[in-house]
Amino acid sequence: MKRVLPTAIAMATGFLVLLDFFFDNLYLNALGVTLINWVVIIAACALILGFLNVLAFHLRKIIQRQEGWLYSIALLVMAGTVLLGGLINLQGYRAPLVKAIFDYVQTPLQATIFSLLVFYMASAGYRAFRARNLETFLLVGACLVVLVGQAPLARYIWEQLPALKDWVLGVPATAGARGIVIGVALGSLATGVRLLVGFDRPYSE
């Protein structure tokens, strides 16, 4: 029962939603909308589950005084501040404190952390992007054409460079990307079918 029930639910709900996807029927539509509405709610609960997991992890770190436990305190204090801030007057994310933290803490931090990567990409460009054979030559060549071609001053370097960049992006790169897109779609299809027929059961350990 432990194993049969989840599998049966996955197969049944999946089958219904799949029918709703392809066929236009009043009852199917209503059922499909209901199921999807429920999934949206449960997905939000999954976010809360994720939060609880992180909370437990960092609490354990603090209690056991593991390495970096002070940082865990900072993390939990910040999370708690945002949560409590949202409770003030029940304004949620429109509360001034939450807005301020989002604008002056979260946004600059996330943007800066993500922007760090460009430095490592630059140094990787020097160390790793070496044209050793035909394939790497194509890799480096395409990279240089697109990189310089995307720079707004490209046309002052060579007039045809922007057009060449457009061609590289629009034709050969698109062809390769299309192969990838089709491959990924086939993979999704296969995974979805395996789920729906009960072959794969990622939901039971």
Partner: protein, 217 residues
């Protein structure tokens, strides 16, 4: 005043993160943890305010008779939370199965109709030049060859190097060699665009420091 204080806090946090370039240090780690904490808290606030309250709790509280069916997602959501403990984790299997079932079905439908159909159809391009559009015919040829080639490359490498012999095997091998070239071009373009994206982020950050904080620009 609030904005001035906020700008200084943002600038300080930005510099703390940039300090990682010199070496991993406590300032950076503190900044990282602050980010994770705020992002987590924010996501929960948004999830509760935009999803759980209006779609679950408020209807149930205001009109439980009409919205009795919302007890099901409520129950499934609570069962999902049981996944937090190893001993009760199996309770949540039903909820996860529900999520996977619906998600899987949509993935099938979407992949088939949204990606495969259109992309394969668009690969059937006119290869013979019409009136005066020889360039387009060449582009189309390259597109078709490239698409088939990169698919052959995946078939050959991801599925393992199957020993296909004869004409089919030879064609597949040739296709995968050609496909590799196209994949290399695509990867080069991907890297260049990824660099472009991160450069924009850096420009944004440095512009903030120079303009909003130091007011030099």
């Amino acid at each position: 005043m609030r904005e001035l204080l906020g700008t200084w806090v943002a600038a300080l946090l930005t510099l703390m993160v940039f300090s990682y370039l010199i070496s991993d240090n406590p300032l950076y780690r503190l900044a990282e943890h602050l980010f994770v904490g705020s992002a987590l808290g924010y996501a929960i606030v948004v999830a509760i305010q935009d999803v759980l309250l209006p779609r679950l709790f408020t209807p149930l509280a205001q009109d439980p008779v009409t919205y009795w069916h919302l007890l099901i997602p409520l129950l499934l959501g609570l069962l999902l939370l049981a996944k937090g403990r190893v001993s009760t984790a199996w309770f949540g299997n039903v909820s996860v199965a529900f999520l996977f079932g619906v998600g899987g079905a949509l993935a099938i439908g979407g992949a088939l109709v949204g990606s495969l159909l259109y992309q394969v159809r668009d690969s059937m391009l006119p290869l013979l030049p019409g009136e005066g559009d020889g360039g387009r015919a060449i582009d189309n040829l390259i597109l078709v060859v490239g698409t088939l080639g990169s698919l052959a490359y995946f078939y050959f490498t991801v599925g393992g190097e199957r020993r296909t012999s004869g004409l089919r095997g030879g064609a597949l091998r040739l296709g995968s060699i050609v496909g590799k070239w196209f994949i290399m071009i695509t990867l080069g373009a991907l890297f260049a665009n990824a660099v472009m994206a991160r450069v924009s982020l850096l420009v944004g950050r440095l512009h903030f420091l120079l303009s909003d904080w130091l007011r030099i620009v």
